[in-house]
C-alpha cells in the first residue's frame, strides 16, 4: 500500500514517529552548497553533549552509528515503537541517560541518513559452513547461549544477549573472534509497507 494513499498502513505509527523524529533530528545539510560533513550528522549531533559514536559489522563492512540520546524503543511493549525518553532530572550526559533505561529498553542508534535502529536483544550469527555440525560446541566454547536456529540448515542462529548496547558489544566481540562468517545485532528497524 502506498505511503500517503489509502487509509491504513500497518506500521503507520512507527513510520509517523520515525518521520517526526527525522524532522526533529534532520541534519540541515547545506542546500547543495557549502561544505559540511553530512556523515553521521543527525539529531545526535544536534543534541550536542550526549553524542556517542558506535559501530557494527554488516558482514565484513564496518558501519558507523550514533546514539540518539532523546529516544528509546521499549521492547516490553506488545508492539515495540519509538518513544521519546523520560530522563532523570538533570541527566544531560549520555551515560547518565543510559542509566535510566530499564531492562528490555534500548537506546536508538542512527545511521548517517538518520534512519533509526534499536537493540531488542540477541545477536544473529552465521556459522562458517565447516562448523554447522559443531554449532553447540562452538557456542559453549565462546560462552554464548543459542536461542533458536533461523534456517533449516541450522547455519544462522539467534543467540542470547540483553536488550540495549550490551548486544551490540557482544555482536562486535563475536565478529572480532573470527569464529563466525558474520555476527550482527538482532536489529529492530522500521520497515515500510508498500
Amino acid at each position: 500500500m502506498k505511503r500517503g494513499f489509502g487509509s491504513k498502513l500497518a506500521l503507520m505509527a512507527a513510520i509517523s514517529l520515525v518521520a517526526s523524529l527525522q524532522t526533529a533530528c534532520a541534519q540541515v545539510a547545506p542546500p547543495n552548497g557549502g561544505a559540511s560533513s553530512t556523515s553521521g550528522a543527525n539529531g545526535a549531533q544536534r543534541a550536542g553533549a550526549g553524542t556517542q559514536q558506535r559501530f557494527w559489522y554488516d558482514g565484513e563492512n564496518r558501519r558507523e552509528l550514533q546514539v540518539d540520546p532523546d529516544w528509546i524503543v521499549d521492547f516490553r511493549a506488545t508492539r515495540p515503537n519509538l518513544e521519546r525518553r523520560a530522563t532523570l532530572p538533570g541527566a544531560t550526559q549520555n551515560a547518565e541517560k543510559e542509566a535510566t533505561l530499564a531492562p528490555g529498553q534500548s537506546v536508538v542508534l542512527r545511521d548517517e541518513t538518520g534512519a533509526p535502529r534499536a537493540l531488542p536483544g540477541g545477536v544473529i550469527v552465521r556459522l562458517h559452513e565447516r562448523d554447522v555440525g559443531e554449532a553447540q560446541k562452538l557456542f559453549a566454547e565462546l560462552g554464548v547461549v543459542p536461542v533458536r536456529a533461523l534456517d533449516p540448515q541450522q547455519r544462522t542462529w539467534l543467540v542470547e544477549a540483553p536488550a540495549g548496547l550490551e548486544s551490540l558489544a557482544l555482536a562486535n566481540r563475536l565478529h572480532d573472534s573470527g569464529r563466525f562468517e558474520s555476527a550482527a545485532p538482532n536489529w529492530w528497524r522500521p520497515r515500510a509497507l508498500k
Binding site: 500497518a10 561544505a35 543527525n42 506488545t78 533458536r148 533461523l150 534456517d151 508498500k194
Partner: protein, 545 residues
C-alpha cells in the same frame, strides 16, 4: 456491501472468545523453533488464538466453507479487465485465462511475509497450509491475526495472491488454489523474525511474497544488511530440494506526484532489499497500463503487476479484516502479490523449474504495456526493457504456456559469475562527468546474463549530488541510471543525508540475456556545485550462464 462474518458477530457475546482475544497475559514467547517450520501453526488442528490485548475479537472456530461463484470476481479487473471498471480493456495479468489451461496453483505453497494476516478470513482459510505468529508475547503456533484497526495490510496482500475461488464468497486470488503460508514477521520489527520467515518451510515453499521494504520518498540509500541477503541466498540455493524459492519484493512507491511536494523521488536502486541478488522486483501499472504517480524507476525492476493510479480511479479489490472486502488497495503492495501469484501458477505448470527459470519465464513472457512510451528500448539481447516497467506486465497465460515447454537453466549450483574491480580514484568535480571502463574478457564465458551487481564507492560530502549510470557500447545496450542527482528529504521535507557510497551494491536486470564479454562503463556526474569528492572504487559482478 461489507459483510460481518458470523463468527465475528458471535464473538461479541462469546465469553470464551473475549477471553481468548483480550485476556492479556503472555503466550509462548519466542519459542525455540529450528526454523524448519516444525512448530508452525496447523490449520487442520483446533484454532489457537494468541492471548493479548486487541481491538479485534476472533472466535476460536474455523470459518464455514462454501461453494459457488465469487460475487466480487467481476470487480477484480486485474484478473481480467473487460472494461468493467474503466481503463483499457485487457490491461490485466491474464490470470483467468491461465487457470483454464494450467490450473490455479494447486500443489504450490506461497508464503506471505508481512504484518498481521487474517488467516481466519472466510476467503483465506480454505487455502491456509501453515502460519506462524511472530507478535511479541504470542505463541508461535497461534494465528497471526490483526490486532488493531490499522492492521489491514497483510490481509489485503494475501487475498490478492491467494484468496479462494469458487467458494461463493468474496474474491479470487491470482493463484486461488495455492497453499497459503502466513507469517507476520514484521509484527515486532526484528531482523531475526524476517530472517526466519524468509526460510520458513523452505523445503516446500515455492514463492515468498513480500510487500514491504525501505521507506519511500526520501531519496536516501537504505541498506538491507547481510542477514537479509544471506536469507535470500539460502532460499534460492536450498529451498525445494535445491530448486530454490522465488522471492518477490516491491519496487516501492517513491515517485513524487505534484501533490507530494516537497519530496525526493526514489529509484528502486536506492533500496537495498530489491538490489539483492535473488529478488524479483515488482513494479506497478494502472488500469490504463501506465505508470502510476508513485512509480519509481530502477534497473532492478523485472516485471509489473496491476495497481491503482495513485490519483483517482479504481484500486484493487481484495480481502479485508473482519471478514470483509475492500476495493481500494493500492501501491506496489498490491502489484507484488500479483507477480507472486503468477510465479506460483508457473511453478504449478512445471514444478521442476528453478528460481532462475521462473525469473526468466516471467521476464520473457511479460506483456509490453504502454507500448508507445519512449522509455522502451531494446537491450543487446533484443529484449524490450523500460526503466519503470522492467520487461513489462506479468502475463499468467503466456508465462504458464512458456513454463510447460521450458528447458531448465539450472539452479544456484550452475549459476556462473565473473567479477572485476577497479580503483579509479577519480576526482568528482562540480558539473563534470568522469567515467571508467571494465573490459570483460573472452574468458568470461557467460553468454546470457541474468543479473548484474555494480559495487560503487565514493567519498563525497553530499552523495545526492552524484548521478551514476551504467553504459555498454560493445555490444550496445541502453544506459541504466542507477542513481539520479537529488536532494534527500524526510517526510516533512527537511533535507537529510542521502547516505554514503561505501561499497553500495546496485542490482540490475537491464542486461538480461546479453553476453558478458565487452565494455562496461560506469559514468559518474557531480551535477551540483558546492560539494566535491572522489570516486574511489567500483566493481562489476556478472551472473548468468
Amino acid at each position: 456491501m461489507r459483510s460481518v462474518s458470523p463468527y465475528a458477530r458471535a464473538i461479541a457475546i462469546s465469553i470464551l472468545g473475549l477471553l481468548a482475544a483480550c485476556g492479556g497475559g503472555g503466550g509462548g514467547g519466542g519459542g525455540s523453533s529450528s526454523g524448519s517450520g516444525g512448530d508452525d501453526g496447523n490449520p487442520d488442528g483446533p484454532v489457537q488464538l494468541a492471548q493479548q490485548n486487541c481491538s479485534f475479537a476472533y472466535a476460536p472456530q474455523k470459518p464455514s466453507a462454501g461453494t459457488g461463484a465469487d460475487p466480487l470476481l467481476s470487480r477484480q479487473w486485474h484478473l481480467r479487465n473487460e472494461g468493467q471498471s474503466g481503463g483499457r480493456v485487457d490491461e490485466d495479468v491474464r490470470a483467468i485465462a491461465a487457470w483454464s489451461s494450467s490450473g490455479k496453483g494447486e500443489g504450490v505453497r506461497l508464503a506471505i511475509v508481512d504484518d498481521a494476516i487474517e488467516t481466519l478470513h472466510e476467503d483465506l482459510f480454505p487455502n491456509l497450509a501453515a502460519f506462524r505468529n511472530y507478535r511479541p508475547g504470542a505463541a508461535p503456533d497461534t494465528h497471526p491475526l490483526p490486532c488493531a484497526p490499522d492492521d489491514t495490510h497483510g490481509t489485503a496482500v494475501a487475498g490478492i495472491a491467494a484468496a479462494r475461488d469458487g467458494n461463493g464468497m468474496g474474491v479470487a486470488g491470482v493463484a486461488p488454489r495455492v497453499a497459503l503460508a502466513a507469517y507476520n514477521a514484521l509484527a515486532a520489527g526484528l531482523e531475526s523474525d524476517v530472517a526466519d520467515a524468509l526460510r520458513r518451510g523452505a523445503d516446500v515453499t515455492g514463492v515468498y511474497s513480500n510487500s514491504w521494504g525501505s521507506p519511500d520518498r526520501t531519496g536516501a540509500l537504505n541498506a538491507s544488511g547481510a542477514t537479509f541477503r544471506n536469507a535470500i541466498l539460502d532460499g534460492v540455493a536450498l529451498a525445494r530440494g535445491g530448486r530454490g524459492a522465488v522471492y518477490v519484493f516491491p519496487a516501492g512507491n517513491g515517485g513524487c506526484p505534484a501533490s507530494a511536494a516537497p519530496c525526493s523521488p526514489d529509484n528502486s536502486n536506492y533500496d537495498g532489499y530489491v538490489n539483492a541478488r535473488g529478488i524479483v522486483t515488482a513494479c506497478a501499472v494502472d488500469i490504463d497500463g501506465q505508470a502510476p504517480s508513485y512509480a519509481e524507476p530502477g534497473a532492478n525492476i523485472l516485471v509489473c503487476g496491476m495497481s491503482d493510479r495513485g490519483t483517482s480511479g479504481p484500486g484493487i479489490t481484495t480481502t479485508d479484516v473482519q471478514n470483509r472486502y475492500r476495493f481500494d488497495f493500492s501501491g506496489t503492495s498490491a502489484s507484488t502479490p500479483m507477480v507472486s501469484g503468477v510465479a506460483a501458477l508457473v511453478l504449478q505448470a512445471n514444478p521442476s523449474l528453478t528460481w532462475r527459470d521462473v525469473r526468466l519465464i516471467l521476464a520473457r513472457s511479460a506483456r509490453k504495456n504502454d507500448s508507445g512510451d519512449s522509455g522502451w528500448q531494446e537491450n543487446a539481447a533484443r529484449l524490450s526493457v523500460h526503466p519503470y516497467y522492467g520487461f513489462g506486465v506479468v502475463d499468467a497465460a503466456a508465462a504458464t504456456a512458456l513454463a510447460r515447454s521450458w528447458s531448465s537453466v539450472g539452479g544456484s549450483g550452475s549459476l556462473r559469475s565473473c567479477s572485476y574491480a577497479k580503483s579509479p580514484n577519480l576526482a568528482l568535480h562540480d558539473a563534470t562527468t568522469v567515467s571508467d571502463t571494465i573490459q570483460v574478457p573472452a574468458d568470461c564465458t557467460i553468454g546470457n546474463i541474468e543479473f548484474v551487481e555494480i559495487g560503487f564507492s565514493a567519498t563525497h560530502s553530499y552523495s545526492g549530488d552524484l548521478r551514476v549510470e551504467l553504459l555498454r557500447s560493445d555490444p550496445a545496450s541502453p544506459p541504466a541510471v542507477l542513481a539520479a542527482s537529488r536532494t534527500c528529504r524526510n517526510d516533512s521535507g527537511g533535507q537529510i543525508s542521502c547516505g554514503s557510497y561505501d561499497n553500495w551494491v546496485f542490482g540490475s536486470v537491464r542486461n538480461l540475456d546479453e553476453p558478458a564479454q565487452g565494455k562496461w562503463t560506469l559514468a559518474v556526474s557531480d551535477t551540483v556545485t558546492g560539494n566535491e569528492g572522489t570516486w574511489t572504487a567500483w566493481s562489476l559482478t556478472l551472473w548468468g550462464r
